[in-house]
Subunit: 311 residues, 2 copies
């Protein structure tokens, strides 16, 4: 089952895909279910109620006629992992613990949905604005002190995620802070694929393309800490809640092709770590994160407005 949050003229609502291009609006077939995905995940067997409501339905709403939104709204926690792919650790040369996942938080305001524009900071503010193609994990059942071998039972589903990062701000101080939290700097979607449909995360691949050129392509089993280990670790500290999301970290850059002038020219890079095959995101780009079994998260990049006081 693929669950979307969409906006049309009438506001924001949930839907379920019934084919590659059509969906049913949940309110049309199950008007008594909550209108937020987090509230559905908080219900006992919430996803089963959704599945029962859409069983046998043929969606007549067209995906192309609505705007997709980030389907979690203001969840309790939007976690992300730093330096979790071996190839990304190598390319940065940075150290990370081999015992404990490297975790930080992002705000809801830092994410948009599939198809919505990602905002590149204005040149006056920052220039090293980087894509990070990742697997997003969404918690379905809460829990505390979850053992490794029970952890995947707590997952509602998965999505694609672009953990857009502003490198200059990330290095303003030792905590990443604002560097991972620029307005609309990241995205997730296009939908939540339920765990039963996605299967074992370690058997899939994540790819990131910028203007059609593949810049990242890695198996999800290259992670230092896998989904189950990360869930188990988080639950040592607090009760994981339905709707908590974990962005599982990004792989390293693919080496650039011979004729890839942009990917080979390190003088165009503004970050602390210059990496062959890395290009920054700029206004006018189209960035896609694809995970087989989920689909493609595609976002155009727009330029943020100039740095003028607005209230």
């Amino acid at each position: 089952m693929k669950i979307i949050a969409f906006a049309d003229g009438a506001g924001e609502a949930l839907g379920v895909m019934t084919g590659p291009e059509h969906f049913v609006a949940l309110a049309d077939v199950a008007p008594k279910l909550p209108t937020s995905l987090v509230a559905i995940l908080e219900m006992p067997d919430g996803l089963l109620h959704v599945a029962a409501a859409v069983e046998g339905q043929v969606g007549k709403r067209e995906l192309a006629s609505v705007t997709l939104k980030p389907f979690l709204g203001r969840a309790n926690a939007l976690w992300a992992l730093a330096l979790n792919f071996k190839t990304h650790i190598e390319e940065t040369g940075l150290t990370t613990s081999r015992e404990h996942p490297h975790l930080f938080l992002r705000t809801a305001a830092s994410y948009v949905g599939a198809g919505e524009p990602i905002l590149a900071p204005h040149d006056d503010v920052a220039r090293a604005f980087d894509y990070e193609g990742e697997l997003a994990v969404v918690i379905g059942k809460g829990g505390r002190h979850i053992p490794y071998d029970r952890a995947l039972e707590h997952v509602a589903g998965y999505s694609c995620l672009n953990e857009g990062s502003v490198r200059e701000y990330q290095h303003h101080n030792r905590q990443f802070g604002l560097g991972k939290n620029f307005e609309a700097s990241g995205s997730y979607g296009p939908w939540l694929v339920t765990a039963d449909e996605f299967g074992d995360p370690s058997t899939h691949r994540v790819k990131t393309r910028v203007n059609g050129v593949t810049r990242q392509d890695a198996p999800l089993d290259d992670m230092l800490f896998d989904v189950a280990a990360t869930i188990s670790y988080l639950s040592q500290a607090y009760t994981l809640r339905p709707g908590d999301m974990i962005a599982m970290g990004t792989p390293g850059a693919l080496p650039p092709a011979e004729d890839d002038v942009e990917g080979r020219d390190l003088s165009r890079q503004f970050g602390t770590f210059k990496t062959p095959g890395l290009v920054h995101m700029r206004p006018g780009d189209l960035v896609e994160v694809e995970i087989d079994g989920i689909g493609i998260l595609s976002n155009p990049v727009s330029g943020d407005e100039p740095a003028l006081y607005r209230r």
Copy 2:
């Protein structure tokens, strides 16, 4: 004006203090106003509507008869500053940027309200559980690229905050991650004091007491980055939203008195940095954060349950 969120048998609601021990329930005098403080802050002149509704009212509800709750619920962002008081930088010996505030995020689940128990991790999980008495700043009016000299216009009010931290987990990796996000490890309250009533933050003091012994006592003008500078910096990256909170950082420990056996015995400390005058929070303790002009945030410390799988 002092605004509380409270729980009684009938659920959670907002109130306004009308004297040291009494309040009016907002729903009794303004049933059409939103029931969440963030939603009120999102309204144009929301706080003015609250003030008009309680004008001349004599509250009959007793503060002692309800449980105070964290008044922001799931806000967009709960920021906190690391290493922002010169005395705390000195005692840790850690480096921090002198140009940019040192920022990280906490989840709503990491905070309880005044009077509610703070949870010390079970001994099997961690032992270096530390109080951090701080000023909390709550954004009232959103804004972007806010100049320093306009920043305080965006503040709705202030509160006391205990930014409880689990040092072992904070040092698991380079980002603080879970160390700042244990379940119910911190608190804020007892209420939001509106900015007009509190005045210039730099003229106040923050004090932290554990079981009646003063452990922190510092002027709020010892900050490396003051309230206005921090707001201005945050707004470079994203539109500050009504209800965003900023915990302004904690001062260093007071030197222990001659007869303060607990505060002088560094062998009782489990953290990486051992500091005379620091004691960890343990079950049975009472921790108070006091800021003149706001009041006292008081929390008993309870022991978290053993590290057993719960779902």
